[in-house]
């Protein structure tokens, strides 16, 4: 990133979402276990995150979903390497919380739930995180589902599939035009 990008990023903050921002927070571990027990996430954990990501950004007529970009692996890499300890704990505990929410709602684990159930569950969790994030004090922890959603959006749209199939990307534009026609439905530039 150069300074001009850093300056223009200020404009993005207006929208409210700062995807993958440095600041996130602290939490507790739920009893049950299995999901996200350690930073060394298991293949099952990765599959779980793939499905969470794919529910947030599913395959549509125009482009593949998040699972096709290996979003679970991406989340693991970022949480392991870029998150502070306290945020790692929230994320790991959040995996179990999400699964528990599925069990409470459908009496099934998230992976056992069908596509519509997964969608409805994450819609509810997204509302929960938005309500919480809107009200929380700056020093309060970030909601785990906020992390999962941000990681999914960031990981997907910066992946090759996301940038070139869901969005538009020209590696070497060759020239610049400041004002060209746009019609609804034209894809956004990846960067």
């Amino acid at each position: 990133m150069n300074r001009r990008d850093a300056l223009s990023r200020v404009a993005l903050i207006l929208g409210g979402t700062i995807v993958g921002a440095e600041a996130f927070l602290s939490g507790c571990k739920t009893g049950d276990k299995k999901l996200g027990e350690s930073l060394n996430l298991s293949p099952d954990d990765i599959s779980f995150l793939d499905e969470v990501g794919d529910t947030i950004l599913p395959t549509t007529a125009s482009s593949p979903g998040a699972k096709d970009t290996h979003i679970g692996d991406f989340m693991k890499t970022i949480v392991n390497d870029c998150y502070e300890d306290k945020d790692q704990k929230i994320f790991l505990a959040g995996m179990q919380k999400l699964d528990n929410a599925s069990k409470a709602k459908y009496n099934k684990s998230f992976l056992e739930a069908d596509t519509n159930q997964r969608h409805d569950l994450l819609v509810a969790l997204d509302k929960e995180q938005k309500d919480y994030m809107d009200k929380k004090k700056p020093e309060d922890p970030t909601h785990y589902f906020r992390m999962m959603k941000e990681l999914t959006l960031w990981g997907y749209f910066t992946s090759e599939i996301g940038a070139t199939k869901a969005l538009r990307y020209v590696a070497i534009p060759g020239h610049y035009e400041g004002c060209v026609p746009y019609k609804k439905g034209d894809k956004a530039w990846a960067t």
Partner: protein, 570 residues
């Protein structure tokens, strides 16, 4: 490395040159080009590694998805770079171009964000490329305001040299006829976006032509010049450009210097002192510590150009001729290391620009808009001295915007694959006054990886700058609102120096050796065969990006040096 390039690796062979250039960044590269083209056998000393144009830009063709962390900083990086982490430079894409803070510590008696690049080309590889001329409002400012000392030159003396370096470096921009921001020898300007054009027109109207929003003047080629391809609008400049689309030592001045066959480059060469002959009152050469082997060498020359980057040039001078002057070469005036300046920034505003939903842009423009200074000019009078300019831009939001009404799923995904609203944001760059008490000194109690004493910083913003910052935010909000931008929000953060990465001062030029370190030709008063032409010579900071001025003053000084050398005066 090119065949024609001499690389003096281990001091085998030649130790005597006509000229030695200490440093290889923007000004060092220019010094090497000018001196070698005038026939001087020149040794360029670089403290860091060799970086070859194109070949050593490993990430220049990478895409976001080729980086494990998509360019983002990791916790390990944050640990290794306690200073760099304070701002945007710490990221995964060009980490190797920044100094590892843990190897090169310094002492912050007051916080100073020092972002350094120790390698061939220095920060010319990562610089922001904005290129502006100073005007007589700047050169006359100190004298008129009665602060610090007068600049020893005026615009008309340096104007031809600005032209000279612009023609070679390649600066794109628009001619505007603004006295506070003189026009130059420009390549065709880059385009503004629709929203930028609209905002520019409204600002002009609202402020009756007293304020202007213009396209940034940037050292990116909008047309090809010999040996370099035009800018490809990839916006990957800070990775090193395989097209040579922007000015850097590697793309521009170094090939010219190499072509003369008069240049020798020695990487891994930390200059620990300039050698001084007190009888002749001249420098005779330099002492070098090999950064890889810790061996010490000496090289001799008739003239020396010190271009180590402002603060490191202070360090070199402070360590030189200490048997004559305990505080170092150039310290007789009591000004060496003082008057440290930078631009203060982090203040501005942004908002949403309505309309233009049927407009977009093509390409990634490595440039933005510029609003030249208007405060304390043309009859305007504030409760502080000097002024500020703004950089910014108007673009459409991408996928990272918040879509409040959408949750998750196909609808969200489809919405985010289209561009969002237009936003318009501007951020100020404010002039910092030269305060004698803003200084660097040697910290004799702390050492770097090579056992060398480090610099200690006592530099801070003062009342004038804090008053200015209030205007910088309020004006930004007012102008954007006047231009019809909605939901305008101001911001003001991190009022610290250093983060502008425009270090200036420490060895100001002047009319009088009692109050300045350099004369008007960038010569050290106490050793006239030593020329300091990085940001050290600046007498005031003005408010615009200063690198173009370093190029111009370096070319002028090199010309003078060779004339004086031929006359036998130095």
């Amino acid at each position: 490395m090119p065949d024609s390039l001499n690389v003096n690796n281990k001091s085998v062979g030649q130790n005597n040159y006509d000229a030695i250039v200490i440093g290889s960044g923007i000004s060092g590269g220019w010094a090497a080009k000018e001196l070698t083209e005038k026939g001087l056998k020149t040794l360029m000393l670089e403290r860091g590694r060799y970086i070859e144009h194109i070949k050593d830009y490993p990430n220049s063709n990478k895409e976001a998805w080729n980086y494990p962390h998509r360019g983002r900083r990791t916790q390990e990086m944050i640990k290794d770079y306690p200073v760099l982490k304070r701002d945007y430079p710490l990221n995964e894409t060009n980490l190797d171009y920044w100094v590892k803070d843990s190897e090169c510590p310094y002492t912050e008696n007051k916080r100073f964000d020092w972002f350094r690049g120790y390698h061939l080309g220095g920060r010319s590889l990562m610089w922001g490329r904005q290129s502006y001329r100073l005007s007589d409002f700047d050169f006359e400012g100190n004298a008129k305001d009665g602060i610090a000392i007068d600049w020893p030159i005026r615009y008309k003396e340096i104007a031809p040299w600005y032209s000279y370096v612009e023609k070679f470096a390649g600066v794109s921009g628009s001619k505007e006829g603004l006295p506070q921001l003189p026009d130059g020898e420009f390549l065709p300007p880059m385009d503004m976006t629709c929203v930028e054009k609209d905002v520019a027109a409204r600002i002009k109207e609202k402020y009756s032509g007293k304020r202007h929003m213009i396209i940034g003047r940037t050292a990116n080629l909008t047309v090809a010049i010999p040996g370099r391809t035009k800018c490809q609008f990839r916006n990957k400049c800070s990775l090193g450009c395989p097209f040579g689309g922007y000015f850097s030592t590697q793309s521009s001045t170094l090939p010219a210097a190499v072509a003369t066959k008069n240049l020798t480059i020695r990487p891994w060469s930390i200059v620990t002192k300039i050698l001084y002959d007190k009888d002749k009152k001249k420098a005779t050469g330099v002492e070098v510590l090999d950064a890889e082997t810790n061996q010490t060498y000496q090289y001799h020359s008739k003239i020396i150009f010190l271009n180590a980057s402002t603060l490191n040039s202070a360090w070199v001078l402070m360590n030189s001729a200490t048997d004559i002057w305990p505080d170092g070469l150039g310290s007789s005036s009591g000004e060496l290391g003082h008057n440290v300046m930078d631009h203060h920034l982090g203040v501005g505003a942004s908002g949403l620009a309505e309309g233009y939903e049927d407009k977009y842009y093509y390409g990634r423009r490595a440039n933005g808009i510029y609003i030249p200074r208007y405060r304390n000019l043309f009859g305007d009078k504030r409760d502080y001295l000097r002024g500020f300019g703004y950089q910014g831009g108007g673009n459409r939001q991408g996928w990272s915007r918040d879509v409040a009404e959408l949750s998750i799923g196909a609808d969200l995904k489809e919405a985010l694959t289209e561009p969002g609203n237009w936003t318009m944001g501007i951020g100020g760059f404010g002039e910092t006054l030269p305060y004698h008490e803003n200084k660097v000194t040697l910290d004799k109690n702390k050492k770097d990886k090579w056992g060398l004493n480090v610099l200690a910083f006592d530099v801070e913003l003062k009342e004038n700058e804090f008053k200015m910052r209030k205007d910088m935010q309020a004006d930004a909000i007012e102008m954007l609102e006047a231009a019809g931008v909605k939901n305008v929000q101001g911001h003001d953060s991190n009022p610290y120096l250093g983060r502008g990465i425009h270090e200036m001062g420490i060895a100001r030029m002047g009319h009088d050796p009692k109050t300045s370190v350099l004369n008007k030709w960038n010569q050290v008063w106490d050793a006239t065969n030593v020329f300091v032409t990085d940001g050290s010579f600046m007498v005031s900071s003005a408010c615009h990006n200063p690198s173009l001025g370093y190029m111009a003053f370096t070319a002028r000084a090199a010309d003078h040096a060779v004339v004086e050398l031929k006359k036998g005066n130095i």
